[in-house]
């Protein structure tokens, strides 16, 4: 099967326990907002796409079957930011290979350069969430899956995160964005997926995401 024109990520019959077969595709520079109640299977879907749990079905990136790509390479290209990102070292800086370039992105999210030396106990939940986003972007993924990336953030930080991601999407990043906030989903999503009791279906399509409309003056 040849890739559909413009499709970066193709999902064909992806399923696992708790998730009915899901099929959809995602183009470069496109953001899909994922809706659904807690426990409906959104996180299961993202984990299956990141290949973190056993799953079946076909997933392709640029037409190449995921099964032929080593898992670590796959996860560098298809990044995943979970709702509660994990940390494994004692200081923030140890989680970054190149803090100097990461710090540029961190600054866009209002995080200081000195955050490198912070012990893990220092940043607030919201700061940690933003640092994890910087960490995920540092891998330069082609697709980024976000699970409630602004859940613990104040309004200013939400705007900063949305602005940063808008710029990345404009540069070609493909995003799957789980959000409980309908207003945010409407702002960021070009298309919408609805997850209900483990079933994934496409729920209407906006020609342009709200942020595109804002970005282009009438």
């Amino acid at each position: 099967m040849t890739p559909k024109a413009g499709a970066l990520l193709e999902v064909d019959g992806l399923h696992r326990s708790g998730l009915q077969p899901a099929s959809f595709s995602l183009a470069a520079g496109e953001c899909i907002a994922v809706h659904g109640h807690s426990g409906s299977g959104k996180t299961l879907l993202l984990r299956a796409l990141a290949d973190l749990d056993p799953n079946r079905g076909v997933v392709r990136l640029e037409g190449r079957d995921r099964a032929t790509i080593p898992a670590p390479t796959w996860r560098q290209r298809v990044g995943y930011l979970p709702a509660e990102p994990g940390w494994w070292a004692d200081t923030i800086g140890e989680h970054f290979i190149d803090w100097e370039s990461a710090a540029v992105v961190a600054a866009q999210l209002g995080l200081p350069h000195e955050a490198r030396g912070w012990p893990l106990t220092r940043p607030s939940t919201g700061e940690r969430l933003r640092l994890a986003l910087v960490r995920a972007l540092a891998e330069s993924p082609q697709v980024l899956m976000l699970d409630e990336p602004t859940a613990a953030l104040d309004a200013g930080s939400v705007a900063a995160v949305e602005a940063l991601l808008r710029q990345r999407v404009a540069d070609g990043l493909a995003v799957l964005w789980v959000s409980h906030d309908p207003a945010q989903a409407a702002r960021v999503g070009h298309r919408h997926l609805l997850v209900e009791a483990g079933r994934v279906r496409e729920a209407g399509r906006d020609r342009e995401a709200g942020w595109d409309r804002e970005a282009e003056p009438q």
């Binding site: 990141a50 973190l52 560098q76 990044g79 990102p85 994990g86």
Partner: protein, 267 residues
């Protein structure tokens, strides 16, 4: 061979047994509720050791490679059950018993045969009078090491799942993502033998050495034996723990670099 030790009669043991009765009496008076346990365990100890004495006497008399090997396998099998039953978070299915027992089988056999063919060289090399006690001492320590290592590995992976998966999500290979937990598991597996070696002779007089001295062996000779045994234990524990912890880490991940905690037994 001259008897250079004081043989014990059953009467001598009966006198010493009054000390256990004293403990039981203390439990009754102080309402500790462990007098039954005390008496039963003392009785078990007497029966088990007497049987062991009979088995060893028979094995020594037979001096057969077949029976010695079977006895060794039985000891390893029991020790394997001990490892499996001490796991807080055991692997599911046959892996729980199989991994610990398999690693112990390989490690203790290697080290015991190594000692029998290099340092000790009895005739024949499988002489049960050397092979069985040697195996027993290596086995009990290797068992502790493997048990601790596997326990620390599985509970460490459960407790630090978020940290391990965070690295997997960023594309780190499983070996790198698990390495802090693997290191911690190996350290806890090897810590007891390190402590035993540093305390030997200062805090503790090792039981085997004490036994040999009571049996009439000159202290200098007994010490050499003890040093040999501790080296063998260190080797057995190291080989067994590394094999078991790496095997456990392999089982708890898969070829797609996923953390597979679903392969732990359900609680």
């Amino acid at each position: 061979m001259t008897k250079d030790y004081i043989a014990l009669g059953y009467g001598d043991l009966a006198i010493a047994a009054t000390l256990v009765l004293l403990d039981a009496a203390a439990s009754l008076v102080l309402h500790l509720g462990i007098h039954r346990g005390f008496l039963i365990s003392a009785l078990r100890m007497v029966v088990q050791l007497s049987l062991m004495g009979l088995v060893l006497a028979t094995l020594f008399a037979l001096s057969s490679p077949l029976w010695t090997g079977l006895a060794a396998l039985a000891m390893i099998a029991f020790a394997g059950r001990e490892i499996a039953s001490r796991q807080e978070r055991p692997l599911a299915g046959l892996w729980s018993y199989g991994l610990g027992t398999g690693c112990m089988l390989v490690a203790t056999t290697l080290v015991t045969v190594f000692a029998l063919t290099t340092a000790l060289r009895p005739h024949p090399w499988y002489d049960p009078r050397y092979a069985i006690p040697l195996l027993g001492m290596i086995l009990s320590n290797t068992m502790t090491g493997i048990g601790l290592g596997l326990n620390t590995l599985s509970s460490g992976l459960v407790n630090r799942r978020g940290a391990v998966e965070a690295r997997l999500m960023l594309g780190h290979p499983r070996r790198a993502a698990l390495s802090p937990v693997i290191r911690q598991a190996l350290r806890s597996a090897l810590m007891p033998i390190v402590n035993t070696m540093s305390a030997a002779g200062i805090v503790a007089l090792p039981g085997m050495m004490t036994g040999q001295i009571l049996g009439g062996v000159p202290p200098g000779e007994a010490v050499k034996y003890q040093i040999l045994i501790l080296f063998l234990i260190a080797g057995g524990t190291g080989i067994g723990a590394v094999a078991a912890v790496l095997g456990g880490a392999y089982r708890l991940t898969d070829a797609r670099h996923r953390l597979r905690l679903d392969r732990l037994a359900a609680r």
